[in-house]
């Protein structure tokens, strides 16, 4: 059998399963605990390696260890927005209900990670740079991202009609995505106070693997945490949205 067709077929079926709230709910019943578990394992390993095994930095000493929170949360703040924008576009183009759920449920998680990146960054900047805030390109654009997340949430809740709110929020998510490349490339485009890329740079990471491994573990762990929160919130939302449908009523009857 043509492998391309098989893969295509697989994704096609996955798409259809995810597109249906009921199928999504079934899948997420399984994935949510798995994601939660993976999150716990990976972050535990990452924390241990990062705090106790990784060597101190030659300049910053132990205070560099805040990197293990700052960088994963900063990465996720960008990643989640990309997920939101993609889901928003899918929802608007293919009118897929679940895509909107992803948009709405991701926003507060993304906002939390953005806030975390800002806070840890400030805490880190105070001793290292000598200031906790500058109107520097990276910092300003990350702050704008936080406002965008908050704006998306506010917009959704402003509508009485859920479906209208979903679509409006999706439009905003798609429009706001221009900020992501700006944040990412800001350190190259401006002579920023914030450092350039350490990990994903031409010529390999500027960091020994003893420091890098915990960072990647933490990043992966945080990503699973996002997945965990997303599925949890999405489950709730699906149940709420579909509370008048047969399958949800059956589900409730089963519980009782």
């Amino acid at each position: 059998m043509n492998p391309f067709v098989t893969v295509w077929d697989f994704f096609g079926r996955l798409y259809h399963r995810l597109a249906s709230p009921r199928e999504f709910y079934k899948i997420s019943r399984f994935t949510t605990p798995v994601f939660g578990l993976l999150f716990l394992l990976l972050t535990a390993a990452g924390t241990y390696l990062g705090l106790f095994v990784a060597p101190a930095d030659y300049q910053q000493g132990d205070s560099f260890r805040i990197i293990y929170v700052h960088v994963p949360s900063a990465w996720l703040s960008l990643f989640i927005y990309m997920v939101m924008a993609t889901a928003g576009a899918i929802g608007l183009i293919w009118r897929m209900k679940m895509a909107y759920v992803v948009v709405i449920c991701s926003a507060p998680i993304g906002a939390a990670f953005t806030a975390l990146a800002l806070i840890t960054g400030s805490l880190w900047g105070a001793p290292i740079w000598g200031t906790w805030w500058e109107w520097d390109a990276r910092l300003t654009s990350e702050l704008i991202l936080l406002f965008l997340y908050l704006g998306a949430m506010a917009l959704y809740y402003a509508f009485d009609d859920r479906k209208t709110g979903e679509r409006a929020t999706a439009v905003l998510a798609v429009v706001g995505v221009v900020i992501v490349p700006i944040i990412h490339y800001s350190v190259e485009w401006w002579s920023s106070l914030h450092q350039g890329a350490t990990v994903f740079r031409a010529g390999g990471p500027a960091m020994p693997s003893s420091m890098l491994t915990p960072l990647l573990l933490m990043a992966l762990g945080f990503t699973f945490f996002y997945g965990y929160c997303l599925f949890l919130r999405a489950q709730n939302m699906v149940l709420h949205n579909e509370r008048n449908s047969r399958w949800v009523k059956d589900l409730i009857n089963e519980l009782e």
Partner: protein, 217 residues
């Protein structure tokens, strides 16, 4: 007057159909599984109590409201993004789409130009036919309620359109005006047009009777 031209252009007839249509407002489903077909020369009178969803249905049929479930077709083609459909549609709702700042004539002229025409003489003719020529140069906010409604209805005469969707067209219109509009509707239908309207009084005793279909929501 203008209605005659439709039949010349489309002797084969038109057909608007809705399949399994549903409308949700808040948590309530106003209607579900609604099927309807309206074809050339028929008038569909949507009947229902206040708040039963007549306006919502009409707005769905015009492609203004989101369709919660089901689909609507015009000549077997879905109406979403269907230019053919929208060039054949005229809609008048509770909101009249008139600008208070413009005079009556200016308002009509804008809609005329929107319809790819530019003929001030015809605008005056239409205003005269609707009995509001005297108000042509008054700013719209100075018109009486009925005059305003007449102005909104005057849009129907700008260019011939096979499908008229009218939400309570007789609101605020006096008896003479009502007769006039009924006559226009009859001409429109006789020429092969389609008319979908709501009205709180029965139309069975009026001139629209021969064309009438009723849909109770």
């Amino acid at each position: 007057m203008s209605a005659h031209e439709i039949s010349a252009a489309d002797s084969h007839g038109h057909c608007l159909a809705a399949n399994n249509l549903a409308c949700q407002r808040g948590e309530r489903w106003l209607f579900e599984g609604l099927n309807l077909t309206v074809s050339s020369g028929t008038c569909l009178h949507v009947i229902g109590a206040n708040g039963s969803g007549k306006t919502s249905l009409l707005r769905m049929l015009c492609g203004i409201s989101r369709i919660d479930r089901g689909d609507i077709t015009w000549q077997q083609k879905n109406i979403a993004g269907n230019d053919d459909y929208f060039s054949g549609l005229a809609y008048l709702g509770h909101k009249d789409g008139l600008k208070n700042e413009f005079t009556a004539a200016e308002n009509l002229e804008f809609y005329q130009r929107l319809n790819f025409e530019n003929d001030p003489a015809k605008v005056d003719e239409i205003l005269a036919e609707m009995g509001i020529l005297a108000c042509a140069d008054l700013p719209t906010f100075q018109l009486s309620f009925g005059q305003r409604r007449r102005l909104a209805l005057a849009r129907l005469l700008l260019v011939p359109r096979p499908l008229w969707v009218l939400d309570e067209p007789f609101t605020g219109i006096d008896q003479a005006g009502r007769n006039l509009i009924e006559r226009l509707c009859v001409e429109h239908l006789a020429a092969g047009g389609i008319l979908i309207l709501t009205n709180h009084q029965s139309l069975r005793s009026g001139p629209l009777k021969p064309f009438l279909n009723e849909l109770e929501l």
